[in-house]
Amino acid sequence: MQDASIPRQPEAGLARRNFFVVAIYGIWGLIAAALSVPAFVYLFFPPKVRRESEWVEAGDTASLAANQPVEMVFRRNRVDGWKVVSEKDTAWVVKHADGSVTAFGPQCTHLGCAYHWEEGKNEFVCPCHNSAFNADGQVVGGPAPRPLDRYDIRIQGDKLLLGSLRRSSGGPA
């Protein structure tokens, strides 16, 4: 629509009008991009990671007897948004015959029930569906699809330090 106040050639009026329309779309396109890109980044990018002091002390390895798994309870800090929550966590710790130590995550790999060590059978047994694991965490019975998950461990003197829990491989995902 041409500016009716100023008489002008129709072509000049059309060019002027086209410029306005292009400029309007351009400006609003730019503004929309400048607002939506940061908004997307803000909502979808994960928070910057602060992972330090991930190693927590779970207990003493000196008192462990070979192939006698012990359930160790420890507290670990978890970052939840702007908070750090201190949570109770457990691990089944086994000292093997050769003196090496393994710490298993406390959940059965079948459906996540808490399992326990049966002294008589020398097996970890899950009460939910009778999955069984040996002291190395390997499946020896029941529906469990893969060996027990293990914590990263570090030994300092007699102290057992636990890192993150690693999903074991083998079996269907």
Binding site: R17, A23, A34, Y42, P47, K48, R50, N77, W82
Partner: protein
């Protein structure tokens, strides 16, 4: 394709009237004189929409309770990508909106565009100005830092001074002068629940009235043919919006909005100052003391608002050319001079920043120079895993404040109270209490007081044997007879340079049975575990002469 699209548009228009509505909006006829001076209203609406958008995004990561508010805002600023930009847009957008709304009002005032029949349009505009200021007032508290807290203490007390209404206002804003959870909840509720719908409603009324009466013409406009809103005027509006947005975006990206320390009601050194657009009121209050105070804080601003609202009924003359509105021009000039003068005076009298606590950056520069008590503090610092939440000097920002920052330094007594019950000294903090004895907390505080940005790394480099040795030194009360780094008593020999005087085996045997090795010694025997003995001896041997 275009034929299909037209078909669809016609179908939709038949059902919703959308196309007709958009067309009648865009092809609205406006006076021939319309041009750049009319763009300010559109810019104000745009800025409001940006505020609504960025405000909603901030709310997705913000916990509206004291303490958590501060921590979550810190999280937005330091942890989230784009968080600082969002907060910058919201903060500077608020300031910019005040500027644009004020300029819009001045333009309308100068041209006398409020005259019959546009009185209601003007009054809706005054209400929108007040809403904009109310956003500023309520939003100021939401970061819950010291600035926010103390600024709101002052503004709620001013509200309480209002004649007749004062006590009710104080009650409504959450209590008699004390700013706490209630005030916070009310301010937040106003800021995000009540004000935005009220603003949307009033903007709709305002725009409806502008459309109903048409854009105000100037004398002579009725002789000229009218123009269409689209595209020339839409272009001008869009271009002005683009300029405003470019300035806003640049400021948000480049100018850091400070987040002060967590609100501290016990802080007696903090001098609250309002946001820049309220500074003139703040300065005016300084000029009016005693019985005049309520006049300056409530009565005069109240009268000004009433006069502003009733402007169309005070000035009822016929519409004349803007250049002949000398009275209006003089009034705006006087108001501008008054505002600028008061604001400049307020800026000029800004008190100097409270002198930063004197910190000796030169010493100590190494853990070996720490006293045993301070060094034992390093051991507790590690044992309690303080570094999980706190940075000390270098390193990435963490949940808690950086422990070398001057602004969080307090005396040892304050720190020990804070360690025992963090929330008692800093309401709303997420720090857990530290379960240590008083003597151990003393050590921790003594160490933290020695930390500064320059030496933090060096002081924390202390090897484990030294910090454990220092803990044993402390629990054994060795300092009540001996001196290390010139701290302690002068009864026994000072222990610096022990390695030069004695063999390690001699020292170890001496702990077990001092009388056997130095017959006149009054030192009691110490039964230490082999590990403790090793740590303590290694520590003492590491001491410089």
């Amino acid at each position: 394709v275009s034929r299909r699209w037209e078909g669809f548009a016609a179908w939709l228009d038949h059902r919703t009237g959308l196309q007709t509505a958009v067309r009648s909006f865009l092809y609205e006829e406006i006076p021939a004189s319309s041009g750049w001076r009319q763009v300010l209203g559109s810019v104000a609406v745009f800025l409001f929409l940006v505020q609504a958008f960025t405000g909603a995004l901030l709310a997705f990561n913000y916990a509206p309770t004291p303490g958590d508010a501060y921590n979550s805002l810190r999280y937005i600023l330091t942890e989230l990508t784009g968080g600082r930009l969002m907060r910058g847009l919201h903060h500077w957008g608020a300031s910019m909106m005040i500027v644009v709304v004020a300029l819009h009002m001045v333009q309308v005032f100068l041209y006398g565009a409020y005259k019959k029949p546009r009185e209601a349009t003007w009054m809706a505009g005054v209400a929108l100005l007040l809403l904009t200021l109310a956003y500023g007032l309520t939003g100021y508290l939401l970061p819950w830092d010291n600035r926010a807290y103390w600024g709101t203490v002052v503004s709620t007390q001013i509200a309480a001074q209002a004649p007749v209404l004062g006590p009710y206002l104080a009650r409504l804003l959450g209590g008699g002068g004390a700013v706490g959870v209630i005030t916070f909840a009310r301010f937040y509720g106003l800021h995000v629940l009540l004000l935005p719908p009220a603003t949307f409603l009033l903007i709709s009324v305002h725009i409806y009235l502008v459309r109903k009466h048409g854009v105000a013409p100037v004398p002579g406009d009725d002789l000229l043919p009218r123009k269409q809103f689209y595209p020339a005027q839409v272009f001008r509006d869009s271009f002005a919006i683009f300029v405003a947005f470019a300035i806003l975006f640049t400021m948000a990206a480049a100018v850091r909005v400070p987040l002060d320390q967590l609100a501290d009601p016990s802080d007696t050194t903090f001098i609250p100052r309002p946001e820049w657009y309220f500074l003139f009121l703040f300065q005016m209050l300084k000029l009016m003391t005693g019985p005049l105070e309520a006049l300056g804080s409530v009565v005069l601003p109240g009268l000004a608002i009433v006069a502003l609202t009733l402007t169309p009924f005070i000035d009822r003359g016929r519409m004349v050319k803007v250049t002949r509105r000398t009275g209006a021009i003089a009034f705006v000039a006087l108001a501008a001079i008054g505002w600028t003068g008061l604001t400049a005076a307020a800026l000029a009298t800004k008190p100097p920043e409270a002198p930063a606590a004197e910190i000796d950056y030169s010493a100590p520069t190494d853990w070996m120079e720490l006293s045993p008590e301070e060094l034992a503090g390093v051991a507790y610092f590690r044992q309690e895993n303080c570094a999980f939440c706190h940075a000390a000097g270098e390193g990435p920002s963490k949940l808690g404040p950086d422990l070398t920052r001057v602004s969080i330094r307090k005396d040892a007594a304050w720190m020990i109270q804070h360690f025992k019950r963090p929330s008692a000294m800093r309401p709303g903090t997420s720090m857990p209490p530290i379960q240590l004895s008083d003597a151990q907390l003393n050590s921790l505080a003594a160490f933290l007081l020695k930390l500064n940005p320059q030496n933090a790394a060096a002081l924390q480099n202390a090897p484990d044997f030294a910090t454990r040795g220092a803990v044993i030194y402390q629990t054994g009360l060795c300092g009540s007879c001996h001196m290390v780094n010139r701290v302690g008593m002068d009864v026994g020999p000072p222990l610096n340079g022990l390695s030069k005087r004695r063999a390690r085996s001699w020292v170890e045997q001496h702990f077990a049975d001092p009388a056997a090795l130095s017959p006149n010694s009054i030192m009691p025997p110490y039964r230490l575990s082999p590990k403790d003995l090793d740590n303590l001896t290694s520590y003492l041997f590491a001491l410089p002469e």
